[in-house]
């Protein structure tokens, strides 16, 4: 896309340096834990060591004697106000604090309120809780067996641990296609429980002003408006009304989906502030964050693919067991209990597909967030890209050739998938061919054959993914009934400077810069003259927040449309100032000029001044607009990733030699920021592929509950990413943009897993579950007699 604006204006396509950076590099950001208010109290939480146990006694007496401790809050205390349970985003119920039993290790049991962080921690140590352990259910498959202990005894008439069954697609057509198939493959795939582990943990400062009845909460949340509404709906009976609630989401130290849900700590802090009339701070530590906040993934998948002998795919069939922990608190749009998992047909043209998912209760933390992906699309992509590779191998076809044969073709867009999604645009072959050229695919295959003859283990893995982002069109997308539009409100000041406020909330994506660039593109006002604000519900227009790569697709579109409303009024003002007819004016970013007389023009700044000083009779003063954008469809960014690995036969270590990522996110607003998002996403795809996993022993003890044993990649392990792009604009987005923040997380794990299996295929290895740790690989090498 050609640049339409000068670097001084800085519209779309310019790598404008980020407006948010000057404060961050000086240590002048304001994150939640930086907020300190006069008289502020500190909250700390007592957590259970048991994964499933009856609480027989909570003795607070010793804790109350600890200097600085004011009170200990238990479930019984909250029960008096009916605040001991809260609804989840999926209309299940979740304990704030338990009154009878705990359901997972590290669950909140009681909360200590004190005058300092340290006193609160002392109080936590001094609370004495007695438990009576109950049978623990960890494996969701066992949880479904007859005779398994029923976990949700709070639910009347609940006789098992099954939450819901959900299916999508044409079962009969799919079964028929499998019966008629010449070749089929079937694979069990486990995508383990992982954690977003943003470097900033979660927390809040709740301040209830008893005089004015106003609650202000500084909070690590990706969706401040939705939180405000949820608080009002849940706590209306104790006097919290929505107009008296202000949620401020200040600078956020990474979200990745983990800061969408409401955690009990937030609710307890708010309750404590309402009860005491004092500000209350709750900041979780890293272990609490890893052990009790929402997890991601945890899907046990069985996937089957059918094809003809010539390599043409025909059908896909998937069955999945989804481990949702003790309550269904997944952060998905209401209508999709398994998120957007049914995008699992991926980039391929299939006649038929059918997918079934069953949600299951276990003694694990609740949640189910997307870890930098839009609602389970990573699981979908991992599955289809793994079985696509299996099929290619099975058919004896090259993995790239097989994909090129089966891709949805450019002339098929808009493409209606077998599972009902309407893909907006794409050219999948172009992206894969570009990646193949960049990495030197043919030469690598020759090298691989050569190395294999020498007994070396080298693999090449491809992942050609299709993302689905921009939630979402209100006809399908809501969270607790709230339709998933987003918003932008622009005010142009008399001197031509602007402030724009959004319903989204950046957690590092650079919204202050990219939104300003969209407005600069549409209005010609320089980026430097546009102040972008988000995250304060008292000032920002209502929006559903930032997750699922929805900010550019939804709020970015709202920005363009609000700016266009302003331009329409600016045209009238310019016509008045130039004494010309509106239709005789020509717009270029920054000014209206008279057709055929380019020297006769008015700049947007002159027009803005006139809006307050010289507007025509009968016209309202001011230059403002707001847009609530309801997207007609989702957007479908895509890409092709190729990964080359070498496997050490002595240690089982997988070394990524090269990783080429070709992404297509449509028209790009800021190339620097887009590339940065891809780097970050690739690292968050690499990490679960090789390192990250939260697992539990049979008693429900978490394995990997701190950074000592929950491995995150450092600069040493992380590969040197090579990126490139193609550009297929979205036909329905006002800017032709698609969104990019999560593409790479979604696409990367399968490329890595496919490379590993490719390296080991000739030994008879058909699949390795992620994370592909050295121990796992070494065991395989031993089994196949090639470990050194």
């Amino acid at each position: 896309m050609a640049l339409r604006t000068s670097p001084a204006i800085g519209g779309m396509g310019h790598s404008v340096k980020r407006k948010e950076d000057p404060r961050f590099i000086r240590g002048k950001g304001t994150y939640v834990d930086d907020v300190q208010l006069p008289g502020m109290l500190y909250l700390d939480i007592v957590r259970t060591p048991f994964a499933h146990a009856k609480i027989t006694k909570i003795d607070s007496s010793k804790a109350l004697g600890v200097p600085g401790v004011l009170t200990v809050i238990t479930g019984q205390d909250l029960a008096k106000y009916n605040l001991h349970w809260m609804p989840t985003l999926m209309s299940d119920t979740q304990m704030v604090l338990p009154v009878e039993k705990v359901m997972y290790q590290a669950q909140e049991v009681a909360a200590v309120l004190a005058t300092s962080r340290y006193a609160a921690a002392d109080g936590v140590d001094a609370v004495h809780v007695e438990y009576e352990p109950l049978p623990v259910v960890i494996d969701p498959r066992k949880a479904l067996e007859p005779g398994a202990p029923v976990l949700r005894t709070d639910k009347k008439d609940k006789k098992d641990n099954h939450i819901w069954h959900w299916e999508w697609g044409d079962r009969a057509a799919t079964d028929r296609a499998f019966r008629e198939a010449e070749v089929t493959v079937k694979q069990d795939i486990y995508i383990p429980r992982i954690h977003v582990a943003s470097i900033e943990t979660c927390g809040c400062v709740a301040q209830f002003d008893k005089v004015n009845g106003k609650l202000t909460v500084w909070m690590t949340t990706q969706a401040p408006h939705a939180i405000r509404t949820v608080f009002a709906l849940v706590a209306g009976h104790v006097g919290l009304a929505e107009h008296k609630i202000r949620i401020i989401s200040p600078d956020i130290g990474g979200g990745f989906g983990g800061k969408v849900p409401v955690y009990p700590g937030y609710v307890i802090a708010v309750a404590a502030s309402v009860l005491t009339g004092k500000p209350v701070k709750w900041i979780e530590d890293r272990m609490e964050n890893l052990q009790a906040d929402s997890f991601a993934r945890d899907y046990h998948i069985t996937a089957e693919l059918a094809a003809r002998k010539d390599g043409k795919l025909t059908a896909l069939r998937i069955k999945t067991i989804a481990d949702h922990g003790y309550t269904d608190a997944a952060a998905n749009p209401s209508k999709f209990p398994a998120g957007l998992f049914h995008i699992c047909t991926g980039s391929y043209d299939l006649q038929a597909a059918h997918v079934e998912v069953d949600g299951v209760y276990t003694n694990k933390p609740p949640g189910g967030i997307a870890y930098r992906c839009s609602f389970r699309v990573t699981e979908a992509v991992h599955t289809i890209e793994r079985v696509a590779d299996l099929m290619a191998h099975q058919l004896g076809m090259d993995a790239a050739e097989f994909r090129l044969k089966n891709f949805i073709k450019p002339d098929q867009f808009p493409y209606k998938s077998a599972l009902g999604w309407e893909y907006d645009s794409g050219d999948y072959a172009a992206a894969l061919r570009k990646a193949m050229d960049k990495i030197g695919y043919a030469e690598l295959r020759r090298e691989q054959a050569e190395r294999r003859r020498r007994g070396e283990l080298m693999g090449i893995g491809i992942s050609s993914f299709t993302e689905i982002v921009g939630a979402g069109p209100s006809k399908h997308f809501d969270i607790l009934g709230l339709k998933m539009f987003d918003s932008c409100e622009i005010r142009i000041h008399p001197t031509g400077k602007a402030i724009a406020r959004f319903g989204t909330k950046s957690q590092g994506q650079g919204h202050e810069t990219t939104y300003a660039q969209i407005l600069a593109e549409e209005l010609g006002i320089p980026v430097a003259d546009i102040q972008v604000e988000e995250g304060d519900t008292d000032t920002a227009p209502y929006g559903l927040g930032t997750y699922a790569s929805r900010s550019t697709p939804v709020a970015g579109a709202a920005a363009a449309l609000a700016a266009r409303k302003i331009r329409d009024k600016a045209r009238k003002l310019a016509a008045h100032l130039l004494e010309a007819a509106e239709e005789d004016l020509v717009w270029e970013p920054g000014k209206f000029s008279v057709k055929g007389a380019p020297n006769q023009f008015k700049t947007i700044q002159e027009i803005a001044f006139a809006a307050y000083t010289n507007h025509p009779q009968g016209m309202e003063a001011g230059l403002e607009a707001v847009s609530y954008y309801d997207p007609p469809n989702l957007t479908y960014p895509f890409g092709s990733y190729i990964c080359v690995v070498d496997i050490d036969k002595g240690t089982g270590e997988v070394k990524i030699r090269r990783f080429v990522a070709v992404d297509d996110c449509g028209n790009i607003i800021n190339p620097m920021i887009v590339e940065g998002q891809i780097h970050g996403g690739l690292t968050m795809g690499f990490a679960p592929a090789l390192m990250e996993e939260i697992s539990y022993d049979e008693l429900g003890n978490i394995q990997g509950g701190s950074f000592i044993d929950y491995l995150l990649p450092t600069a040493v392990e992380t590969p040197k990413w090579e990126t490139d792009k193609t550009c297929t604009p979205s036909p329905h987005h006002p800017l032709g943009a698609k969104g990019v923040g999560e593409s790479a997380t979604v696409g990367a794990p399968a490329a890595i897993a496919n490379a590993v299996v490719d390296a080991l295929w000739h030994l008879g290895v058909r699949h390795v579950d992620i994370p592909i740790t050295p121990a796992k690989v070494w065991k395989l090498l031993r089994e196949h007699g090639v470990a050194e």
């Binding site: 340096k17 980020r18 948010e20 950076d21 000057p22 404060r23 961050f24 590099i25 000086r26 240590g27 002048k28 950001g29 304001t30 994150y31 834990d33 930086d34 300190q36 962080r117 340290y118 977003v196 582990a197 943003s198 470097i199 900033e200 943990t201 600078d251 956020i252 130290g253 990474g254 990745f256 530590d285 890293r286 272990m287 957690q507 590092g508 994506q509 650079g510 620097m672 920021i673 590339e675 940065g676 998002q677 891809i678 780097h679 970050g680 996403g681 690739l682 690292t683 968050m684 701190s706 950074f707 000592i708 995150l712 450092t714 600069a715 040493v716 992380t718 040197k720 990413w721």
Partner: protein, 157 residues
């Protein structure tokens, strides 16, 4: 206990509990909030500051251990209104996204470049391996440090 420290050239003192961690002394008592907390186990490096010129993870040092010593935090990098080349580098090379790990990254790389002004990419990656970042993928952080190294070589700051 009375603790007296010099932070970024300014004298500070406070009467604190002996167990107060340095990071809390800096953040909660002296209100310099650029230094962040990301873990409890000295793994993430967000709390890195310099103690007498050496990088330490301030979540694993008691405040009183800093008594009569000099501390440098991210707020001390800018001198006379002029950004340090590392700060410039992080901006120029897009070496940050959410900005939460950035102060720790800056302090670690500041100490590293002072000792190792000429270093390879692999050495830089090793040097920051005690600082975790979840947003950027490290490529641009390394570039930012290389930018600063080059500028410092050429006599900048």
């Amino acid at each position: 206990m009375l603790v007296k420290v010099q932070i970024n050239g300014e004298k500070h003192e406070a009467d604190v509990e002996p167990r107060l961690l340095l990071v809390h002394l800096i953040r909660d008592v002296f209100r310099l909030t650029g230094t962040h907390i990301g873990c409890d186990t000295t793994h993430c490096g967000a709390c890195t500051v310099l103690l007498d010129g050496r990088p330490v993870k301030s979540c694993t040092v008691f405040g009183i251990q800093a008594h009569n010593r000099e501390i440098m935090t991210v707020e001390g990098l800018e001198q006379d209104g002029k950004l340090h080349p590392l700060q410039e580098g992080f901006m120029e090379e897009h070496g940050l996204q959410c900005g939460y790990c950035t102060p720790g990254m800056l302090m670690t790389s500041y100490a590293f470049l002072r000792k190792h002004p000429r270093s390879t990419e692999d050495e830089i990656r090793q040097a920051i391996s005690g600082n975790l970042c979840r947003c950027t993928g490290y490529v641009n952080i390394v570039k930012a440090i290389q930018y600063a190294a080059a500028k410092l070589q050429n006599g900048g700051a």
